[in-house]
Subunit: 329 residues, 3 copies
């Protein structure tokens, strides 16, 4: 994009993108809303956002627009990312991130009433709520677009989108890659959502987990029925040589009733410089963060450690989503 | 207003308003500061703010101005409304909305010192504090304008102003209307303040409450002495046919020592589609929110349900107040 | 500075300052980073910030820049000051000021990971953390500049800078003055840092404290070895006549094991109108605030009471630091 043009006419950032903007005025609730076509659109827009941030810090695309960031549970990373995204687009934020002390809620107000109240002040709502389905309820009642920033055991679509975008940015393509998911594949929401998104591409999938934290059967069957080359294993060493992407999540001690069992298997899921000696030279290690020991700090210096760049991609993806939802394009 | 003019010269928003701007540099502490003349001025400005928000989202009138939003008790609705108002005026906010954990306060700092400290960073202060008279104390010590956002059992003038503005916006006039206040008229701060403001107009007043929650005697006498057509009743059915405005507040179970009594009367104060069948076709149902059952959810679909539009009017009123207090006009 | 020039070209605010901008891209961690040359540069820039705020409220120097304000412990004053500073420079803030409920931290994330995550969204980091050395650790891991906003018993350099700037602004010079520090000189972090900074100037120092709260020996020796005229005393009356600056801090009752001892000495450290009758006509009383009784409220009316102007200078100093760190100058 020409920098002078964007300065004069910020909406020019949409020009020449592949296809129309399907997101304008829409809610972003689940990864099932995405397909190869609109993912390509979103990622192309996110790349422009990256250029804008790197060259000028931001763009006045959402001037006088207001985001209500409603966080019923604290999530510093996600709320900070959305706040920064809105601000770098020239917009403003009502940060409602107190976590516990919602005065109206404590007075017994329902979620629909809270949403319908706060949308009177804002142009778009970002909602984090501990209950599955809460974002869909909010979207049902709201007239303004709602973006799901995590509804408990439900979905966290912007995380899955930034994960996928990171693969594309780091390796230049998604088709043809071998993606290994490692750790807690049972309860790991991010793993499920990323897997769903990957089914829009031609990839090989490897699931590496302890027996009790295996990928849910219905998701496994979905992948298999779609004809994907997929394999489950207990040990990350089994996949380290072929993996283009190592997507690591935490194996929580608390999941094990038998601690001896935990001690026995935990090393299978720890990423160390030693392990990475067996990995391809051009591959990446990802993690949704925060980590607590599952990737050793020595790995940070390895150029294949992509997890902090992954965080940064969250900024670009959220800028792209906010822009797409609020501008006709 | 001409949109291009406002873009070039935001202060043009004050041009042609009825009368001078009496609010410039002033504190906004109590409804007694308002009279028919300056209410008309404020409402005319609020209508322009509504136009600005609806057509362009905001206006750069308070660029580089900073609001310190000091909330000693949480109030998501009110703080969000002021934050959005300041942001849509192009200004910025220092959100001090932690509710409990004021570090300086916990170290024993007095309210005057906290105010005199924070005003060094800001151009205007919005204060919510649980103690009656706190806003007046703050205003006494502050050099910058203070806006009272609720001082416990004291006042909450911006709520009363948005209530009155809503009546005007919804029904086109205030004079000549029959306004019925329903529910807890004894402890309901909003009811008292709105009643005070209505005494600037030619209205009929109906007070509907349980015996133990009747409107305070001194306020009742004030209304009567001023020659108003006023009546008290226990049952909302008595007023539903004549009411142009039904201003509903919550009857809290906790107020009753005898629960049997509560069960006996509570239906008198619940607003249902059934009840509204008896109401005028052109009337409105208002509520300061949050509600907890006193207006059933089915009423929301009724075009006469004005409570969410009422919330939105809070944005316009607060934009008008911030602008009037900070700009000579 | 010419106002029209700054409006068109905000970076002009750096033109003609004494010497180059040594702060660009640097961390601000400790007072030991400062010397007479870069202090003069910073104070000259801070004075321009004061002019900008007084005449126009702010300047669009940091447009599209984002500050991550990370406060692991609440500090309303310091966080508000940094937020206002960033906003008046046209930039934005991610306020992470929840004090206790850092979700990632509660999940066990390390400080380096939190910093490396949040710097992906921001251009500069302001950190308050209860542990000494935490800011240095953050700066070690961060690629973006880190400003120390207090690391427990460690440093709080921006407080010391605003203290020194206040002396300059109030009295027109620092050389030749007699500065008396009063109160808790043992644990008072601000006293130690200000003393360090004063060693860049030609001053006389007076330390007034109870025996158990005397200035640490190593700092006293440092001052003495540098050849300064310095004296310790128990009673503020001993220094009141010669002092140009009375820098007051709180003597906490809790420090005393023998309360009788506390009662005996506490009057030696209370600043009253009575005491100030013995002081010079042109001198100032300073305090880092909050105060709890050590300066009586009657003193506030005395023009020599500089502590609220001191707070305001914090805004200008932090504006200057943010600008200097983020702009080549």
């Amino acid at each position: 994009m020409n920098r002078e043009v964007l300065l004069e006419r910020p909406a020019a950032i949409f020009e020449g993108l592949p296809g129309p903007n399907e997101f304008y005025g829409q809610d972003i609730l689940a990864v099932s809303q995405f397909n190869r076509r609109n993912l390509e659109y979103l990622f192309a827009l996110a790349e422009r956002m990256r250029d804008v941030v790197e060259t000028r810090g931001g763009i006045d695309l959402l001037r006088h627009k207001v985001l209500a960031a409603i966080f019923y549970e604290p999530s510093t990373r996600t709320s900070s990312s959305f706040i920064a995204a809105m601000e770098r687009l020239g917009g403003s934020v009502i940060p409602i991130t107190q976590g516990v002390q919602f005065s109206s809620v404590s007075k017994g107000e329902s979620l629909p009433d809270t949403i319908r109240t706060l949308e009177q002040y804002a142009d778009v709502i970002v909602l984090r709520h501990p209950e599955k389905g809460s974002a869909a309820i909010a979207a049902h009642y709201a007239e303004k677009p709602v973006i799901n920033a995590g509804d408990g055991p439900g979905e966290h679509p912007t995380q899955a989108l930034l994960d996928l975008f990171t693969i594309l940015e780091e390796l230049g393509t998604i088709d043809g890659l071998t993606v290994a998911m490692v750790g807690d594949l049972r309860y790991g929401r991010t793993v499920h959502s990323l897997t769903e998104l990957l089914l829009n591409y031609d990839v090989r999938l490897r699931f590496v987990s302890p027996e009790i934290l295996r990928i849910p059967l219905d998701l496994m069957n979905k992948v298999r029925d779609a004809g994907y080359d997929v394999r489950e294993t207990y040990d990350v060493h089994d996949v380290i040589e072929e993996a283009d992407v190592l997507y690591v999540t935490r194996v929580q001690k608390e999941r094990f009733t038998d601690l001896a069992q935990y001690e026995q298997v935990k090393d299978y899921y720890e990423i160390t410089p030693e392990l990475l000696k067996h990995a391809k030279e051009r591959m990446i290690v990802m993690h949704p963060l925060p980590r607590v020991g599952e990737i050793s700090y020595e790995v940070d210096k390895d150029p294949r450690a992509a997890y902090f760049r992954q965080v940064r991609n969250g900024l670009y993806i959220r800028m792209a989503l906010l822009a797409a939802v609020l501008c006709p394009g």
